[in-house]
C-alpha cells in the first residue's frame, strides 16, 4: 500500500537538550500506528513536528511526497491534509459547536457553506452531539468537547489524523465515549497516528505499535507481539507499569 507519511532521520533539539534523534517512521494509507512511551520521551513533540508546529533540526518529513517544513510557503496547504486533535481540545471558545466545525472548511477550503453545514450536522449526529450544535464549548463536558474536536479535524478531509493524548485530560467515565469514536474511524480505514497512555485502547485500535523511550524508537511491532512478547527489557518494564497486582 502507498505510503502517506514518511519521516526520515528527524532530530529535535532545544539549545543543548536533544528531544529525539534520527527518528524514522513511515505510515501507509489506512494504517493506524500507536506511539507509547514514558512521559517526557518526546512522543508529543514528535507528533507536533509532523505538521510543523515544532521545527526540526535535521531530517525530512514528507506527506504525500511534499516536504513538511516551517519554511514551506504552502505549509497551510499541507496542514489542511493533516488533522490534529490535542489533549486540551482547543476548540474556539467564541464560536458555537457548528461554527467551530465550519470555520476551516469555509475559510480555508472555501467550500460552500450549505454543503459544509450538511456535512457538519451529519458528523455531529454520528458522534451523538447533534443536539449540541448551537452550544458554546464551555457548555460541553470534556468528552463532548473532544468529540467535537475530532469532528473539526475530520471535516477537513485530512489524509492522516494525529491524535495527541486526546483522553489524557478527561474524567475516566468520558474516556470511552471518545475512544469509541476513534475506534469507529479506524474501522472505516482512516490513517491515524496516535499517542496515548490507554494501553487497552492502543491494542484494540492499532495495526502497529511503537515504543519510544529516551528520544529513540526502542521497539515496534504488531500489537499482539508488542503486548504479549515484548523483546526489549525497557518495553517489558514500561508495560508492567500499567498492570497491577503481581
Amino acid at each position: 500500500m502507498e505510503e502517506i507519511l514518511t519521516v526520515k532521520n528527524i532530530s529535535k533539539r532545544y539549545e543543548d537538550i536533544t528531544v529525539f534523534q534520527d527518528l524514522n517512521l513511515s505510515v501507509k494509507k489506512g494504517e493506524v500506528v500507536v506511539i507509547v512511551g514514558p512521559s517526557g520521551c518526546g512522543k508529543s513533540t514528535f507528533l507536533r513536528c509532523l505538521n510543523a508546529l515544532e521545527d526540526i533540526q535535521d531530517g525530512e518529513i514528507l506527506l504525500d511526497g511534499e516536504v513538511v517544513n516551517s519554511g514551506n510557503k504552502d505549509l497551510s496547504k499541507i496542514r489542511e491534509k493533516i488533522g490534529m486533535v490535542f489533549q486540551s481540545y482547543d476548540l474556539f471558545p467564541h464560536l458555537t459547536v457548528l461554527q467551530n466545525l465550519m470555520l476551516a472548511p469555509t475559510k480555508v477550503k472555501k467550500r460552500d457553506k450549505k454543503e459544509v453545514q450538511k456535512e457538519a450536522l451529519e458528523l455531529l449526529e454520528r458522534v451523538g452531539l447533534l443536539s449540541k450544535k448551537d452550544n458554546y464549548p464551555r457548555q460541553l463536558s470534556g468528552g463532548q468537547k473532544q468529540r467535537v474536536a475530532i469532528v473539526r479535524a475530520l471535516i477537513m478531509h485530512p489524509e492522516i489524523l494525529l491524535l495527541d493524548e486526546i483522553t489524557a485530560a478527561l474524567d475516566p467515565e468520558m474516556v470511552k465515549e471518545v475512544l469509541d469514536v476513534v475506534l469507529s474511524l479506524a474501522k472505516e480505514g482512516r490513517t491515524m497516528l496516535i499517542v496515548t497512555h490507554e494501553m487497552q485502547f492502543a491494542r484494540a485500535v492499532s495495526d502497529r505499535m511503537i515504543f519510544i523511550d529516551g528520544g529513540k524508537i526502542v521497539e515496534e511491532g504488531a500489537p499482539k507481539e508488542f503486548f504479549e512478547n515484548p523483546k526489549t527489557e525497557r518495553l517489558k518494564k514500561f508495560l508492567q507499569t500499567f498492570t497491577y497486582g503481581d
Binding site: N51, L53, S76, K77, R79, E80, I82, G83, M84, F86, S88, D90, L91, F92, P93, H94, L95, L103, A104, K107, V108, K109, Y136, P137, R138, A149, R152, A153, M156
Partner: protein, 217 residues
Amino acid sequence: MDFEVISSYIPKYIEAFWLTIRIGWIGIALSIVIGIFTAFVLHFKVPVLSAVSKVYVELFRNTPLLVQLFFIYFALPKIGISVKADTCGAVGLGLLGGSYMSEVFRSGLDGVAASQTESALALGLSKRQLFFYVIFPQALSLSVPGVVANVIFLLKETSVFSAISLMDLMFTAKDLIGLYYNTTEALFLLVVFYIIMLLPVSVLGSIIEKKLVVFGH
C-alpha cells in the same frame, strides 16, 4: 432648591450635554482605533512602530488630560498649528484614551491562549485568518470589561474641557454659578446630567459582559 431655576437651566444643560456627548464619543471612537492599532503593533512586536507606540502610551498615560489639552490648544498654535476647541477636545481625549485602551487591548491579545494559535494553524488557517477569525474576536471579548471602564472614565474626563472654553456640562455649571449664584441648583443639574450620560453606559456594559460569559470568557 428652586425648581423654577432648575427648569430654566435645563435647556442650557441639554445643549451642553449634547456637546459633551458629541465630543466625548468622537474622542472615544478615536481612542479605540488608536488603542487597537497600538496594541496590535505592541503585541506582535512590529519593528519601529512598537517602539513609537510604547513611547506614546507611556507619555499619554502619565500626563494629565488637562496638560495635554493645554499643550494642544495653547502650545501648538505657537508653532503654527491652530486647532479649534472642539477638535482639540476630541483629539486630546482620543490620545489620552488611546493610551489606556492600548493596554486593555494588549492584555486582551495576551490573554488568548497560545494553544488557540496552534489549533487554528493545524487546521490550515493562514496567519491572517488566524488573527481575524480566532485571536481578534477573543481578544475583543476579553477586552470588554476594560473598555467599558475606560469609556466611563473618559466620559468623566470630558469635565476638563471647560478649561479650553468648550461649553460642556462643567463649563455650563460654572458659568451659571458665576452669573446667578444659584450654586445648589446648578450643581444638582450637573450631577443629574452626568448620571444620565454615564448610567446607560454602565448598564449596557454589564449586559454585554454577561452575554460574553456565555461564549467562554
